[in-house]
């Protein structure tokens, strides 16, 4: 695998730069020091990882439920479409670091504001991809169902919903990749646990290696979530012939 070789080479160069004293170890710890911190603080970081993981998973669940409801509502009702579309889009213009403290202020230091923060970051890709997927249906199949006098509900259940599944998974995978951002910002605004909180305290104590260890776990968390949803997609969306070149008939 050339990718692994490239990463190893980069890590070796990084290690060398730090060990040779080119940069201050307080600013940039060497990869081995990060691993050392990860091992030393494994009990603490493990708890933080569990906390952040539950925030992210619950937030994603809320995002998928709310995102799907919004997309389906906007698809089926022109009133919902015209009223909600600008709000849905505008919600993504709200700066997460600004709104996170408000969530904490109103909802307290517990799990709820973190879950909502993750959901706020994640629902948008789910909504937009599902909404587009519901509209982007094979026109021949649509004509066929109309000629069979299918009801609105039948067209949705038999044609639009299954047809939108691949796009929905694309949205969920994007959401899974950015979910940790929402959790970290929410924890920064007020928390006593979680990887974002660990990152903040380690920074404050100039424990740079531990901060990097927490970041590494966030990185791995995002990759693992993405991989899990990609695997689920392969099981659920099992009709797309992946071996065929894209853009075929």
């Amino acid at each position: 695998m050339p990718a692994a070789g490239l990463v190893l080479a980069a890590l070796a160069a990084w290690e060398a730069i730090v060990r040779l004293g080119v940069v201050d170890q307080l600013l940039l710890p060497a990869p081995t020091q990060v691993l050392d911190a990860l091992w030393t603080d494994r009990a603490l970081l493990g708890e933080d990882l569990a906390v952040t993981l539950s925030e992210v998973l619950l937030g994603l669940a809320v995002a998928i439920a709310v995102g799907a409801a919004l997309a389906i509502g906007m698809h089926l009702s022109s009133l919902m479409r015209t009223t909600l579309r600008p709000l849905v889009t505008g919600s993504q213009a709200v700066p997460v670091p600004v709104i996170a403290p408000l969530f904490i202020l109103v909802l307290g230091f517990g799990l709820v504001p973190k879950v909502l923060m993750v959901a706020l970051v994640c629902f948008f890709p789910v909504t937009i991809n599902l909404y587009d997927g519901l509209r982007d249906v094979d026109p021949d199949a649509r004509k066929l169902l109309r000629s069979l006098d299918a009801t609105r509900w039948q067209a949705f259940r038999l044609l639009e919903a299954p047809s939108a599944l691949p796009a929905t998974f694309t949205g969920i995978k994007i959401a899974a990749a950015v979910a940790v951002i929402g959790a970290v910002f929410a924890e920064w605004a007020g928390a006593d646990q979680g990887l974002g909180h660990a990152l903040l305290t380690a920074n404050g104590q100039l424990e740079t290696a531990r901060a990097f260890a927490a970041t590494l776990l966030l990185f791995l968390l995002a990759v693992a979530l993405y991989g899990a949803f990609a695997a689920l997609e392969r099981r659920v969306v099992d009709w797309t012939p992946r071996s065929e070149p894209a853009g075929g008939p």
Binding site: D138, D140, A141, K143, L144, L145, R146, S147, L148, D149, A150, Q154, L158, L159, P162, S163, L165, V237, W239, T240, P241, P249
Partner: protein
């Protein structure tokens, strides 16, 4: 649903009431595109009428008018409930062959089990046995068309609108499928509108051939096909008819059309 559509402002008339299809002086525009211009045709009950014309002459629009998916801008369409078999089979890629064939029954309100049973009854006769669980991507072109045709038949409509059913098939499969369709329609007679750009296909299958001009589609000729079945591509009358149709479409010069056929295939 029965289709009785008139362009606004025309005098209403009573529908013919049997299983025949009547299209009278129908015009249809899409913005600047004039798809159909004063097209009339008739299909009596259990007749197969082929509509032949160059690409983009409004053939598919004509079928959608008969199926009630569009309304004419002028003229009148009267047809009993019709079902459309769209150009590229319209199979749903996530459903098995059996569920695709059963789709029309599901839409008609049958339970999943009842719809599957109704479809499965025909699988052997349609040469699909053993492929019940196969997804469309795993089926050959000919099998996909047979699944789509079974779905169309199971809709239980008196009128079938087939939009270039064999257009995507290779030449060999197409010949086999034409023979197969002729047989299937003899066993299960329906009123059929068959859109194709292949005059030979029309001569093999149809009781009447309606020839349309390039856009805007106008009827340039209607040829009766009083030939016995089964027909062969090499039958002299079939070959003659094919040449007459090509001549009427302006595809061959009259002088060429009257020379002995030289085995085009």
């Amino acid at each position: 649903m029965r289709t009785d559509l008139e362009a606004p402002g025309t005098e209403p008339r009573l529908a013919s009431g049997d299983d025949g299809v009547t299209v009278e002086a129908v015009s249809r525009r899409f913005g600047a595109v004039h798809a159909l211009d004063g097209v009339s045709l008739q299909a009596r009950a259990h007749e197969i009428v082929a509509v032949v014309g160059p690409s983009g002459c409004g053939k598919s629009t004509l079928l959608e008018l008969v199926c009630g998916l569009q309304a004419p801008d002028a003229g009148r369409v009267s047809a009993p409930p019709a079902v459309l078999m769209p150009q590229r089979d319209g199979l749903l890629p996530w459903l098995s062959a059996l569920d695709n064939a059963a789709l029309a029954r599901r839409v008609a309100g049958d339970s999943r089990a009842a719809a599957r049973a109704a479809a499965h009854e025909h699988f052997a006769a349609f040469g699909l046995e053993g492929f019940e669980r196969a997804r469309p991507a795993a089926l050959s072109g000919g099998m996909r068309q047979r699944v789509a045709f079974l779905r169309t038949l199971l809709a239980g409509r008196p009128v079938l609108c087939l939009d270039e059913p064999f257009g995507a098939l290779d030449a060999l499969t197409r010949v086999q499928m034409q023979q197969w369709l002729a047989g299937a329609l003899q066993r299960e007679p329906r009123t059929v509108l068959l859109v194709t750009h292949d005059v030979e296909e029309a001569a093999l299958l149809a009781d009447r051939i309606v020839l349309l001009s390039a856009r805007p589609g106008r009827v340039v000729a209607t040829l009766e096909v009083p030939l016995p079945r089964p027909r062969q591509r090499t039958d002299l009358q079939v070959v003659e008819l094919r040449e007459r149709a090509l001549e009427a479409l302006g595809a061959v010069a009259p002088a060429v059309a009257h020379t002995p056929p030289d085995g085009r295939a």
